[in-house]
Subunit: 172 residues, 2 copies
Amino acid sequence: MMSANHCLGVGIVICLCAAAASGATGQQAPPKPAAAQAAPDRNPTRALATKAFDAFTQGLGTGNWQAFFDLMSDDFTFTFPTGKYLGTHAGKATAMEFFGYVSKVYPEGLKVTLDKVTVDGSTAIFEFRDEGTLVLPSGRQPYKNRVAVSMDFKDGKLVAYREYFGSDGKSY
Amino acid sequence: MMSANHCLGVGIVICLCAAAASGATGQQAPPKPAAAQAAPDRNPTRALATKAFDAFTQGLGTGNWQAFFDLMSDDFTFTFPTGKYLGTHAGKATAMEFFGYVSKVYPEGLKVTLDKVTVDGSTAIFEFRDEGTLVLPSGRQPYKNRVAVSMDFKDGKLVAYREYFGSDGKSY
């Protein structure tokens, strides 16, 4: 019966930026060869990831998914681990239906605690915990889970979303 | 009853390296300022991640976990989504017990298909599919899942492992 995750609108994104942190001294020494020179992290995926996670948590918290839908490509795919949306589904229309369903079963939203963001190339993976109340015709039940969501970006759009569960829906 | 994942010894690691791929031309023009200069990815986590995933898949495939255990720090923690090892557990000794248990319930190993490796800072996340046979006293059953494993490294050692399930143990 545990079928989906939501979040309240907590959109704090921690950027791990090894390249930028490991050598920017500001001194005026001659430029080093490229191979030895630390460069700030310029991966545009970081900014997109922040935007996407903000929109995602907004949708989960409020039921207003417009900002998240606006980021999706038309051929967006999502992969979900359980329930009626188990598996991989193609097309933005199906995704809109899915995220609408999520807001239906968690109408009060979930509280999200973001633990880690891992960005590499065109992919960003968010590890977070969430909790709230699953509301079904059969009744209400507390919900608590660990989740990892992997997002792929292309040409400024979100093209794929893969969700993974790290706990049992009842505990962290 | 689905409690753990194994893999056969397939240890191919794809390194996504945006910085290295986006501008190394080899020409002799004067060095650009650091901010504009593409640098090869020097994150040592990539090499460690390859080594760890190779050792992990070797353990899953053969039951010989020594190489994987050798990479663990003494205060290694692992987090597992279900079954008797649900939750987060601290200490290398408990981890050794856990991975031994994994080899007990999947004695024939699992076939692994690695889909994506995402490396950032000191973390590497592996998204893969695996399949094989779960063997319990009650009988044998086919096993198939999507998995994400997030590994944190520190001082050349593996310090944390978090496993997430992306499917239901019966399908991809």
